[in-house]
C-alpha cells in the first residue's frame, strides 16, 4: 500500500475514533421569538433508553424554546472536563453535566459560562464549597435515586422476598451509587431480610451479570430476589435470560430501574416485579431554568436551583400500559405546559411553579393532564 493511502487510512481511523467517543447531536436552529441560548449537554451516551429519551425530548423542545442544544458524551471525569472545554470553545452559554467537578467549574468561571448538574445532587463537600464561591454555578436537579433504591427493596420485601442479591455498576457513578446505598440501607432496616451476595460490574456489564446470576442461583439456593441498580445496556435481558436458563423465571424476583423494551413481557411472566423509570423530563426542566436565567428573565437571588423529581414505579403488571402510553410513547410534558412555567415565555410564572410541576411528577399526574 502506498504511503499516501496509509496516511489516508490513518486519518480516517482517527476520525472514526473521535466520532465514536463524542456522539454529537445538534438541535435545529431556533426560530423562536426569544433570545437564542446555546446549551451544552454532557451525558454518558444516547443509545441507551434514558439517553435516547433525553435526546428525543431535546429535539422536541429546542426549537420552540429558542435553544441550541449540543449533546456530547463521556464517562470519566477527565473526559467531561475535556468536553466542557470543547463546548466552551464552541461558544455555549451554559453547560448541563451529570458529573460536575471543581476543574469544570473553574473553566466555566473563566469563560463566563453557566453550569448545572443533573441526575444527582452534589454530595462532595469540597466540590460544593468550590461551587458556592462561583457566580456561574446555578444548581442541580435529581430524581431521588436513593429513594428509588429503597422502593425496590420495599417492593421485594412486600412480595415476600427475604434473600436478596444486589447487582450494580462499579462505584463512582453518582446515580448508581445512590441507588446502591438506598438498596443496602433499606435492606438493613428489615431484620429478616439478608443481602446474601453482591456484584458490581462495568457500565455495559450484561454478560457479567448473566454469568454471575447463574453463579448466585447455583451457589445460593436460598436466593429469592435480585435488586439491580440499572436495567439499561441489555442488563435486564441478560439477567432475566440467565434466570430463564436456570429455570428460575418467576421464582427469583427482580427489581430494577430504567424501563426497557420488553418490560411488559417480563412483568407478565412474573420474573420482573418492580421497575422504575420515566425520569427523563428532569433535564428538560433544568434546561428551561438555565435558559431563563441566561436570558435574565429569572433571577434566583443568589439561591441555588435544586429540583427534585421522582421515578415512576411499576409494580407487577399494574400501570405498565399507562406508563407506555403516557411516558414512553408520548412526552409527559407538552410544549405549552412547559412554556407556562418558563419565565421567558410566561413572565408571571416563577421558579416555585416550575419546581412544583416537576416535583408532582407521577403517572397519575400525567394521566390527569393528558387523559386520552
Amino acid at each position: 500500500m502506498s504511503k499516501k493511502m496509509k496516511k489516508l487510512m490513518a486519518v480516517l481511523l482517527c476520525f472514526a475514533m473521535l466520532f465514536s467517543v463524542t456522539s454529537v447531536a445538534q438541535a435545529k436552529e431556533d426560530t423562536a421569538d426569544v433570545k437564542q441560548v446555546s446549551i451544552g449537554f454532557i451525558g454518558w451516551g444516547y443509545t441507551d433508553t434514558l439517553g435516547a429519551a433525553y435526546k428525543e425530548y431535546f429535539d422536541y423542545i429546542a426549537e420552540e424554546f429558542g435553544m441550541n442544544v449540543t449533546l456530547v458524551a463521556g464517562t470519566t471525569q477527565e473526559e467531561h472536563i475535556s468536553l466542557a472545554e470543547d463546548l466552551i470553545e464552541a461558544g455555549v452559554d451554559g453547560i448541563l453535566a451529570y458529573q460536575v467537578t471543581s476543574p469544570m467549574m473553574k473553566l466555566c468561571d473563566e469563560a463566563g459560562v453557566y453550569l448545572m448538574q443533573f441526575g444527582s445532587p452534589i454530595t462532595d463537600e469540597d466540590i460544593q464549597a468550590n461551587l458556592d464561591g462561583s457566580d456561574y454555578w446555578l444548581g442541580t436537579s435529581s430524581v431521588d435515586d436513593y429513594k428509588s433504591g429503597q422502593n425496590m427493596v420495599e417492593a421485594l420485601y412486600e412480595d415476600g422476598c427475604r434473600n436478596m442479591v444486589v447487582l450494580g455498576v462499579a462505584a463512582g457513578n453518582p446515580c448508581h451509587d445512590l441507588r446502591w446505598n438506598g438498596i443496602m440501607d433499606k435492606a438493613a432496616e428489615y431484620d429478616d431480610m439478608t443481602v446474601i451476595g453482591e456484584y458490581r460490574g462495568g457500565t455495559a456489564a450484561a454478560q457479567e451479570y448473566s454469568d454471575q446470576v447463574q453463579n448466585f442461583v447455583a451457589m445460593y439456593p436460598e436466593m429469592d430476589s435480585i435488586a439491580m441498580t440499572g436495567a439499561s445496556s441489555g442488563n435486564l435481558d441478560a439477567v432475566l435470560s440467565a434466570l430463564d436458563t436456570v429455570g428460575m423465571t418467576g421464582t427469583v424476583k427482580l427489581a430494577t430501574l430504567d424501563v426497557q423494551e420488553g418490560t411488559d413481557t417480563y412483568l407478565e411472566e412474573g420474573s420482573l416485579l418492580f421497575i422504575g423509570g420515566g425520569q427523563h423530563p428532569e433535564v428538560i426542566f433544568l434546561a428551561i431554568l438555565m435558559a431563563d436565567i441566561i436570558r435574565g428573565s429569572l433571577d434566583m437571588g443568589g439561591e441555588e436551583v435544586s429540583l427534585v423529581g421522582q421515578f415512576i414505579n411499576i409494580v407487577g403488571t399494574d400501570g405498565y400500559e399507562e406508563f407506555k402510553k403516557y411516558i414512553m410513547d408520548d412526552f409527559p410534558y407538552y410544549i405549552e405546559e412547559l412554556k407556562a412555567v418558563s419565565t421567558s415565555f410566561n413572565p408571571d410564572t416563577s421558579y416555585q411553579e416550575l419546581y412544583d410541576l416537576w416535583n408532582s411528577y407521577s403517572l397519575d399526574d400525567v394521566e390527569t393532564r393528558h387523559a386520552k
Binding site: F19, T47, A171, A204, S210, A218, M219, D237, T245
Partner: protein, 325 residues
C-alpha cells in the same frame, strides 16, 4: 511417574488448587454440581473467544477486538436471522459471516498499515463499537426465545465440543497450524525458510472470525439481547479470554495449547464464581481477582527460578561439604 502422568498432574494442579481453595473458604458453597455446571455454561463463551485468539496470540498479535466483534457480529447476525426467519441456523451462519468479515477488516488494517496490534485493536474497537450504535437504528438486537437454544446445556457443550475438535485438528494437523507454530516460536527463521507470514496471518484471522462468530451466537443467546456499546466497554470480554490463553501458553510444555486454554478459561471462571461463593463484597472481589492474577503470573514466571534456587542450594551444600572434607 511417567512423563504423561507428570504432564497431566502439572496441568491439573492449578484448577484443582483453585477448586480446593474456594471450596474451603466458601465453606462448601463453591464446588457443588449445579455450581460447576453454571461455571461450565459460562466458560463456553470465554473458551470460544480464547480459542479464537489462540493462533494470533501465539504469533505475537495482541487483539483486543473480540468483545467488540462479538457484540457487532451478534447484532448484525441476530438482526438478519430474525428478519429472514432462519432460526438458530441462520443466527449461527450470519454471526459467523459477520465476524469473519470484521476480522478480515482488522487483518487488513493491522497487516498492511503495520500498526502495532494493540493500538490497531483499540482503534478497531472504537470503530466497531460505534457501528453498534449506528446499525439497525442503534437498537442492537433482541432475540426471540426460539433462537436462543444454544445458550442452554447440553447444546452449548455440543457447540464447544465440535468447535474444540475442529480447532484441535486445525492447530495440530494442518499446514497452517504448523506454520503458525513456526512463525510464533521463530518468526525470522521461519520466514527465511519461506513460510508466508501474510498467508498464515490471513488464515488465522479467518479462524478467529469463525470462532468469534460462534461466541457471538452463545453470548447473544445467553443474554437474550445485545445492546449498543461505547467507551471500550467490550474490552472486558477479551481480557478474560486473554488470561485464559495466557494460562494455556504457560501449560504448553505439559499439554496441547487447545487443551491448555480450556484449563485456563475454566480456571478463570472458577475464580470469578469462587469470589461470589465466598460472599466477598464487590471491592474485595476486585482486589482478590487482581491478587490471583499477580500470584499466578508471579508463580508461572518464576517457577523455573524457584526450582533452580532449591537445586542450587542443595548443590552448593554438597560442594561445601566436599571442600571441608
Amino acid at each position: 511417574m511417567s512423563k504423561k502422568l507428570s504432564n497431566i498432574v502439572k496441568c491439573l494442579i492449578l484448577p484443582i488448587a483453585v477448586y480446593v481453595i474456594f471450596f474451603v473458604f466458601s465453606k462448601g458453597r463453591f464446588g457443588s454440581l449445579p455450581g460447576m455446571l453454571a461455571i461450565g455454561r459460562q466458560f463456553v463463551l470465554y473458551c470460544l473467544v480464547g480459542w479464537a485468539l489462540m493462533h494470533n496470540q501465539l504469533m505475537g498479535v495482541w487483539d483486543f477486538t473480540p468483545g467488540a466483534v462479538v457484540a457487532l457480529a451478534g447484532i448484525i447476525g441476530g438482526n438478519i436471522a430474525l428478519s429472514t426467519n432462519t432460526g438458530v441456523a441462520g443466527l449461527v451462519v450470519f454471526c459467523i459471516l459477520s465476524a469473519v468479515t470484521l476480522c478480515l477488516l482488522t487483518f487488513f488494517v493491522f497487516h498492511f498499515l503495520k500498526i502495532p496490534s494493540m493500538i490497531c485493536g483499540l482503534g478497531m474497537v472504537l470503530i466497531y463499537e460505534m457501528l453498534t450504535t449506528q446499525l439497525f437504528g442503534g437498537t442492537g438486537v433482541k432475540l426471540t426465545k426460539d433462537i436462543t437454544l444454544l445458550a442452554k446445556s447440553p447444546y452449548c457443550y455440543v457447540v464447544l465440543a465440535v468447535a474444540g475438535i475442529i480447532l484441535y485438528i486445525l492447530f495440530n494437523f494442518t499446514k497452517n497450524g504448523a506454520n503458525t507454530r513456526s512463525l510464533g516460536y521463530g518468526q525470522d527463521i521461519a520466514m527465511s525458510i519461506g513460510v508466508s507470514l501474510t498467508k498464515t496471518r490471513l488464515k488465522n484471522f479467518i479462524i478467529e472470525g469463525i470462532f468469534l462468530g460462534l461466541a457471538a451466537v452463545i453470548s447473544s443467546s445467553q443474554r437474550g439481547s445485545i445492546a449498543p456499546t461505547l467507551n471500550m466497554s467490550t474490552l472486558s470480554l477479551g481480557f478474560d479470554a486473554i488470561m485464559g490463553v495466557f494460562i494455556g501458553l504457560n501449560l504448553v510444555n505439559n499439554c496441547n495449547l487447545v487443551v491448555g486454554i480450556v484449563i485456563g478459561t475454566f480456571t478463570m471462571k472458577m475464580v470469578s464464581a469462587g469470589l461470589i461463593a465466598m460472599g466477598l463484597d464487590s471491592n474485595l472481589q476486585s482486589v482478590a481477582q487482581g491478587l490471583f492474577l499477580l500470584v499466578f503470573i508471579g508463580i508461572s514466571s518464576n517457577k523455573d527460578a524457584v526450582s533452580k534456587y532449591f537445586a542450587d542450594k542443595k548443590k552448593s551444600a554438597e560442594i561445601l561439604a566436599k571442600i571441608k572434607a
